[in-house]
């Protein structure tokens, strides 16, 4: 009986050191929108708006590419005392913007290439000269995509470009087996 009592007492009958309070706020959105969802027709129309939007991504992409080039130049000029994470972040953030926005404005290939670049930047330990050269190759390719206005996935050419960049990354990792161990 005593054991059962222990089970029912809050906090095992000990004084709690920290308190967590749970609240369920009023669901204002639910009250306003009601029930039933949106029809497929509305969602299809919204999707069409997205696909047919005529915004020119080029000026925005040029800004992000310039920012990536700044990051590359800073990495090239970085000394050993510089914080590697900060140097990498300077290249990672514009790459992330290119990935995020490319696909929103019909440049799916840009998203694909920038995503591969992000994955590379998320793995490398130090932004050494070989790594920075690879980032530069990504930059050159993305610049070509924008200036060539290659929309969509770029077809066969897009696949070849992505493969070439992926191979360069794989060769880099294979060259440094002491640092990079496959999962």
């Amino acid at each position: 009986m005593a054991a059962n009592d222990e089970l029912t007492k809050p906090h095992y009958n000990m004084k709690p050191r920290r308190k967590a309070e749970f609240m369920r706020p009023v669901n204002m959105l639910k009250q306003k929108v009601g029930s039933g969802g949106l029809s497929d027709d509305i969602l299809d129309r919204a999707q069409k708006l997205l696909e047919e939007n005529s915004t020119d991504f080029k000026p925005l992409a040029i800004v992000y590419l310039a920012s990536l080039m700044n990051g590359i130049n800073m990495a090239k000029g970085a000394s050993e005392s510089d914080d590697s994470e900060e140097v990498i972040a300077n290249m990672l953030y514009p790459a992330m913007q290119l990935k995020a926005n490319g696909g929103m404005f019909q440049y799916a290939l840009m998203t694909l290439i920038a995503d591969k670049l992000i994955q590379f930047l998320e793995v490398i330990k130090d932004p050494d000269i070989e790594a920075v050269e690879i980032v530069l190759a990504f930059h050159t390719t993305m610049e070509a995509v924008i200036h060539g206005e290659i929309k969509g996935d770029g077809g066969k050419q897009g696949k070849e470009l992505t493969h070439a960049l992926t191979d360069a990354c794989m060769r880099y990792f294979a060259k440094h087996p002491e640092t990079y161990i496959p999962q």
Partner: protein
């Protein structure tokens, strides 16, 4: 019956104007009529205080105040008029570490860019139909970071591993307790 978004107001916090326009057109297609926008977290907080939107869509990376700091401010600032407002954070990051960082700041839903019209709609539906309870502890205030699992599901299990894994983990726990 269908959702009626005509009385819903949404604040878009995003420094990229073409993206603001795109989001606004999507929301208008859903039926939202009141849409506000701001270019960073600082401006966003001022618009939020003035307009009291029902929902916020915020980008992560903005200068000078990013989406994470903006979210923290909404959840914790004494002058915040609605600390419970749902916030959808949009970003190109998809790494688990980033998702956790966003959750720890008090974000309600996470939306990876690029996304399509149904992706955004699904996040909004989650907020409407499966709202998270809020937690206040010593170091956190925001939506419960654990998504509640339905324990009373009685339908068929479509993946054999479900039962096998459940049995295995139950056995492992039992072994450990012995």
């Amino acid at each position: 019956m269908a959702y009626d978004f005509s009385q819903v107001s949404v604040l878009i916090v995003e420094d990229n104007q073409p993206m603001v326009d795109l989001l606004a057109s999507l929301l208008e297609a859903y039926g939202v009529s009141k849409i506000y926008s701001a270019r960073d977290g600082d401006e966003g907080f001022e618009v939020f205080k003035k307009e009291l939107p029902d929902l916020i869509l915020s980008d992560w990376m903005m200068k000078p105040v990013d989406g994470i700091s903006f979210t923290r401010r909404i959840r914790n600032d004494v002058s915040s008029p609605n600390k419970f407002v749902p916030i959808i954070l949009m970003t190109g990051f998809s790494e688990k570490r980033r998702v956790m960082q966003a959750r720890d700041a008090g974000v309600t839903e996470f939306l990876v860019k690029p996304f399509n019209a149904r992706d955004l709609y699904r996040r909004i539906v989650q907020i409407i139909e499966r709202p998270r309870q809020f937690v206040r502890s010593e170091d956190f205030f925001g939506p419960d970071r654990r998504r509640k699992r339905e324990s009373n599901y009685a339908g068929p299990r479509r993946r054999e591993e479900d039962d096998r894994n459940q049995n295995n983990s139950a056995q492992q726990v039992a072994e450990k307790l012995k």
